[in-house]
């Protein structure tokens, strides 16, 4: 009797050990992948469409660190030799700079098969995960005549109701350049932009976050702001009194980018994770929920959804590609000027 | 100079603070200089309180402390200076104006507190056991010092103490307090000679308090001490019945020759022990029936006597105060 009991016990233990070792053959068993990404809806989508299949397939655990891209950007530099994050999502300008400074790795199509399906614009900075259009957000409750041009913001009737975004930043930089272009300048001749924005004073606010922007539109303090199309449509879908316009002078192109730090400890897992992120399932979910335009060519969108974002090669090409290399080089001087000319009275 | 005298905890400080205006009486009024000030706030009463722990302002120099009351009264600076100088001279602190109070000795602090109170010429100066924190010698010095200052400035003062000697030497009138009540008011001599209750008799000076019964026989009133001894008295007219007879040790004599005069009682007893104090001595004698009597001897009279020997106490008939028990 006793012997059989012992035998059963040993057998059970062996079975457990065996099962562990079977699972242990998976690549990520016992490892943790640290991913830095935006919170709220993005977190939910990522957990559902990326983390879940990734963890099932690899056996690794994913730890999400939520926050704005600025925190991640500066962290990548500060922790260059010993990064905490394995995957860091950045804004377009940041990703370009980090790639140039070799703080993050370039694309690796061998381990990220989805890379080949990306539009060329998304391939250029490594792993572009969403196309964004920086256009005009306006208040449908107070503005009856929908704007068509950036110049409409300088209409005297709207004085005190136009809120710029903080410079430098995706929306803020785009707005400065578009202000310059609308007033006869461009990236290389930025004076016109600064002078034009200075004319918009007093500002109801200088924006830096999405929640405060939406609140400003809701209370009626803000009628116009430069904004990324996805945020506008998301707020509109929730019942916000806003709409989005592609102005006639052009709508700057922007992108969210997934990056892998140069010295990342789990590059192999990071690449698998990004591959899931670029998968049509996830891209479609992002388009559905946040109206982020897919960077994966194989994603098919229903027409009514496609109308709300830059979809397809042609529309993407129509977006305005700013000279980011030049802008980044000038950024420091421009920030100085922004502080003095725009933020001071 | 009025002294509030009583054991600690009897309410002296409370009464003083009521005069100063820091306590509101639940009943009764406070009159100052012919005016009812019961509802006047402390700062309008023009009293000056010297605290037991002095309550000097630690953030001010001696000069600033003393000048405080005058500054509050908006005196011009020049007059303040001269008044402060004058008062510091009086208390013997001239030249120390710029010192910080924390750097001064207890006696000096005491004098700063006094100067601070005096300089505003209060209508009444209130002192709460001002000498209790000083050493014995300094205390004696300050007694006369305070008294003379008070005389020279002609200020009414209320002085709190639990030390009867202090009260007797300094006071013009003494208020004896017990358990929150005033029990006797009078000049030092009066209070000493004729205490109106056993408490006062016991508290002021030393008293022998004998319990017994007042009786009357053919020769007049008679006090029968519990246990037997009889004392014949003159003058003290008290109703018959239980009573306490108080007598001062210095009113009694020890009889060496065994000769009592007509006007004296002679009480036999046994000398239990003697307390020798230098210029005087106390003899503790047990009367028959167990009551104890204390007898004082002074100066040359002080003599060494055998313990446990029989002895006779001579008690003048006019000595002693009859108190109700």
């Amino acid at each position: 009797m006793r012997r059989t009991k012992i035998a059963v016990c040993i057998g059970l233990l062996a079975a457990i050990a065996l099962s562990v070792s079977v699972v242990g053959q998976r690549i990520g068993e016992g490892r943790t992948l640290v991913v830095g990404i935006w919170g709220a809806a993005q977190e939910e989508l990522t957990r559902e469409y990326v983390v879940k299949p990734f963890e099932q397939a690899t056996g690794a655990r994913v730890e999400l660190i939520l926050g704005g891209s600025t925190d991640r950007f500066v962290r990548l530099y500060a922790e260059y030799d010993n990064p905490t994050m394995d995957v860091a999502f950045l804004a377009y300008g940041q990703a370009q700079q980090a790639l140039k400074d070799r703080v993050v790795q370039g694309p690796n199509p061998i381990n990220v098969p989805e890379w080949k399906n990306l539009y060329p614009q998304a391939q250029a900075v490594g792993y572009g995960v969403a196309f964004l259009a920086v256009g005009l957000m306006y208040n449908t409750e107070y503005v009856k005549q929908a704007p068509t041009s950036w110049l409409d913001l300088w209409n005297p009737a709207y004085k005190g109701k136009v809120a710029p975004f903080v410079f430098p930043g995706t929306q803020g930089t785009a707005f400065l350049v578009m202000a310059a272009r609308a007033h006869g300048g461009d990236e290389y001749n930025i004076d016109a932009g600064f002078n034009a924005i200075a004319q918009l004073k007093p500002f109801p606010a200088v924006l830096s976050g999405i929640p405060e922007t939406n609140l400003g539109f809701l209370t009626g303090d803000i009628w116009f702001a430069p904004q990324i199309h996805g945020y506008v449509y998301e707020f509109k879908a929730e019942g916000g009194p806003v709409d989005f316009v592609y102005p006639s002078e052009g709508t700057p192109f922007a992108m969210n980018v997934a990056t892998i730090p140069t010295n990342a400890k789990n590059t192999d897992l990071a690449e698998i994770f990004i591959n899931y992120f670029l998968s049509p399932a996830n891209q479609l979910a992002y388009a559905n929920r946040l109206f982020y335009a897919p960077t994966n060519r194989t994603v098919q969108l229903p027409p009514e959804l496609a109308a709300m974002m830059p979809y397809g090669a042609q529309q993407i090409a129509e977006l305005l590609e700013l000279d980011w290399a030049h802008i980044t080089a000038q950024q420091s001087d421009w920030a100085d000027r922004w502080n003095r000319q725009i933020l001071e009275k | 100079m009025l002294c509030l005298l009583g054991p600690s905890g009897c309410g002296k400080t409370t009464l003083l603070r009521t005069i100063a205006g820091f306590e509101k009486p639940t009943s009764g009024q406070v009159w100052l200089g012919g005016k009812d000030v019961t509802r006047t706030p402390p700062e309008k009463r023009n009293t000056a309180l010297v605290f037991q722990n002095y309550a000097l302002f630690p953030h001010m120099s001696v000069f600033e402390n003393v000048a405080f009351g005058l500054k509050v009264r908006r005196w011009p600076m020049r007059e303040i200076s001269s008044a402060v100088k004058e008062i510091l001279d009086l208390v013997g602190l001239s030249g120390l104006e710029r010192r910080w109070v924390k750097q001064m000795s207890g006696g000096q602090q005491q004098r700063v507190a006094l100067a601070r109170a005096l300089v505003i010429r209060p209508s009444v100066l209130l002192l709460d056991e001002p000498l209790s924190n000083l050493d014995a010698k300094l205390r004696l010095e300050m007694r006369t010092h305070i008294k003379s200052i008070q005389r020279s400035l002609n200020i009414t003062a209320v002085f709190v103490t639990h030390d009867q000697e202090e009260a007797l030497t300094m006071a013009d009138r003494i208020v004896i307090m017990h358990q929150g009540r005033v029990v006797q008011v009078g000049a030092p001599r009066e209070v000493y000679a004729t205490p109106n209750c056993t408490f006062v008799a016991d508290f002021i000076g030393k008293s022998n308090c004998l319990r017994g019964i007042v009786a009357r026989d053919a020769d007049g009133p008679l006090f029968i001490v519990n246990g037997g001894p009889r004392v014949r008295l003159e003058g003290a007219a008290v109703a018959e019945g239980e009573a306490v007879l108080a007598v001062r040790p210095e009113e009694l004599r020890l009889d060496d020759r065994g000769a009592a005069s007509e006007t004296e009682n002679a009480l036999p007893g046994i000398l239990m022990h003697t307390t020798y104090l230098g210029e005087m001595a106390y003899h503790h004698v047990r009367l028959e029936g167990g009551s104890m009597l204390m007898v004082a001897e002074y100066g040359k009279q002080v003599r060494e006597r055998a313990i446990d020997e029989e002895i006779v106490i001579l008690w003048p008939r006019e000595a002693g105060t009859m108190l109700r028990s």
Binding site: W38, A41, G68, S208, L218 | G69
Partner: protein, 590 residues
């Protein structure tokens, strides 16, 4: 001194080493448009900063905002501190709870509450409009920032002042009144000067915290009021110009040290008078003399102002009568005034709580989308918030334990013993509060990355301990200053050893200071955001960091829901502490 060693080790790792990194960095050159740093030395960062009036202007603005916040805190906080010092039992426990609640609501949540409250469409402006008055533009703008900083940091002043007020012998007030002072006069001439050490300590905290605040000026300034922290953050985080940001930080640190040193010397007279007196006889530095002159001049100024006022008042007798009436009204309205101040302290709380039940994902007041508990229910499916709560709790508890014990030792060393470098050490311990937190965090991150300690629990703990130690040393020192050493000597004389003396005599007597220090330590750690954003990582993300990271994108009523829960937990904890231990014991002196 050996007593200060543990604190010094913490300071060394958590502050001095990063400071050295920053100092070295500040002489380097960054490459524009890149995060790279050239390997050559330059003075360009300093010349750029020092020879440009713009930076001075920003400094001046930050300085004045912090100054206004400090003065407003003093004006509003002092009466409350007096009320706390005077009250007993339940009333005292209630007042303490009121004062501490704002510090327990998360910085993001309470600032949002204020934004709504003071906003163009907020309750205050709506009331004004109803009364037929014009709207006030408090937010966005400097007034809103000052109000916000005051609301948040005033508790530091209140607790500092009340712990000193409780030490003042009530007989001193009576002495003054018996010498002819009115109630107000006694306050002005006796209580106020004696409470100066508390005012110095408390106002220093408010000033330094206001000076280095980021979230409040950013949100309440509508992104349009540039202060030093905005500038440093922009340089360090967006433009990656670390050398320039470091140079700004180093200069700020030096300026702060000079400012704070002058301030504590000039005002801390009562605290140091004796020592300066002693020093006066031997030798006195020209610096000390200058400070003394300054102090004397300020006293003279105050005196002559007082005299001028007296003269004026004599001529304007009617005015004096009116003033008397005003005083009477102030006294009558005293409790009304205090109630208003308490209302001000608590103001954002109802907004935070109500908006946490909003049906919509925007934080608004009144909330839209009807009543809903979805943000509370949502929390259930987000275990990471609960995990973060416990991490925060753990770090705060450890910060209190370690910070208060080591800090008290260091304070003992600093107050009791004279040794070379004492003043330097004293300043050093306070300086983590003078260096902008953004850069403390960044430099600490660099250091921890080098040590391989990023995102570790001990790394986060060290970061918190450095800040906590500063508060502890300052607060405990203040309570040691008035300490009668003969009590310790008595104890030693009666045969008690060093440790027993500390436990039985010193500790019970400085307990109020230690308790206030512990409260500060806990709250500072529990609410610390700016440094923690950098040094936390997977597994060590604290609650404030989690909430703060929602600010740029994804801020929803979850933040207010968590803050409401925190307040409820805090109140429950206070209630339990009151039931079990009796809260008033924690704050009374005798």
């Amino acid at each position: 001194m050996t007593l200060a060693t543990p604190s010094f080790v913490i300071l060394g790792i958590g502050f001095l080493a990063p400071l050295v990194l920053l100092f070295l960095l500040s002489w380097r050159q960054s490459v524009p448009g890149s995060g790279l740093i050239l390997d050559q030395w330059t003075t360009a960062n300093y010349t750029r900063l020092l020879f440009d009036a713009y930076y001075f202007k920003i400094f001046w603005r930050t300085f004045t905002i912090a100054l206004y916040a400090t003065l407003l805190s003093l004006a509003l906080g002092y009466p409350i501190a007096m009320a706390i010092a005077r009250s007993k039992g339940r009333a005292k426990a209630f007042l303490l709870a009121v004062v501490l609640t704002p510090l327990l609501t998360n910085v993001v949540a309470r600032t949002l509450g204020l934004m709504i409250l003071l906003g163009r469409h907020g309750p205050i402006n709506n009331l004004l409009v109803q009364l037929g008055l014009p709207r006030l533009t408090l937010v966005p703008g400097v007034p809103g920032i000052v109000i916000g900083l005051t609301q948040v940091f005033m508790p530091f002043l209140i607790l500092s002042v009340s712990s000193v007020l409780e030490n003042i012998d009530p007989a001193l007030v009576e002495a003054a009144r018996s010498l002819g002072c009115t109630r107000f006069g006694a306050f002005r001439r006796v209580v106020l000067p004696l409470s100066v050490p508390g005012i110095v300590g408390g106002s220093l905290f408010v000033f330094l915290l206001s000076f280095s605040a980021f979230v409040t000026p950013q949100l309440l300034g509508g992104g349009m009021v540039v202060v030093m922290t905005t500038l440093i953050r922009q340089q360090a985080m967006v433009l990656l110009n670390w050398p320039f940001a470091s140079a700004v930080a180093i200069v700020l640190l030096l300026v702060s040290i000079v400012l704070v040193g002058t301030y504590t010397r000039a005002l801390g007279g009562a605290e140091r008078r004796e020592s300066t007196r002693v020093a006066a006889s031997s030798k006195i530095s020209s610096w000390g003399r200058a400070v003394q002159e300054l102090r004397r001049a300020s006293y003279d100024l105050a005196a002559s102002l007082g005299r001028a006022w007296t003269r004026l008042a004599r001529y304007l007798r009617p005015m004096r009568l009116a003033l008397g009436k005003l005083r009477f009204m102030v006294r009558a309205g005293g409790w009304g005034g205090k109630a208003l101040i308490i209302a001000f302290i608590l103001a954002p709380l109802p907004i935070v709580i109500v908006s946490s039940f909003s049906g919509s994902s925007l934080i608004m007041f009144p909330p839209r989308g009807g009543f809903s508990v979805r943000w509370y229910v949502g929390l259930l499916s987000r275990p990471e918030y609960i995990r973060s709560f416990f991490i925060s709790l753990q770090i705060a508890a450890l910060s209190v334990l370690i910070g208060v014990s080591t800090g008290t030792l260091a304070a003992l060393a600093l107050v009791r013993y004279r040794f070379p470098g004492r003043e330097v050490l004293r300043t050093l311990f306070l300086s983590p509060l003078m260096l902008p937190a953004v850069l403390v965090g960044l430099a600490l991150l660099r250091l921890l990355a080098m040590m391989g300690w990023t995102a570790t629990f001990r790394g986060v703990l060290i970061g918190h301990l450095v800040l906590v130690t500063a508060y502890v040393i300052r607060t405990v020192s203040a309570s040691l200053v008035g300490f009668d050493r003969s009590l310790e000597e008595a104890s030693r004389n009666l045969g008690a050893g060093v440790f027993r003396t500390f436990r039985r005599v010193t500790f019970p007597l400085i307990k109020p200071g230690l308790i206030v220090a512990s409260i500060f330590a806990f709250l500072v750690s529990f609410d610390e955001t700016t440094v923690s954003v950098f040094i936390t990582g997977p597994g060590t993300i604290t609650l404030p960091v989690r909430l703060f990271s929602q600010l740029e994108y994804g801020l929803d009523p979850t933040v207010t829901a968590i803050s409401s829960i925190l307040v409820v937990i805090a109140l429950l904890a206070l209630l339990v502490a009151d039931r079990l231990l009796g809260l008033e014991k924690f704050s009374t002196m005798r």
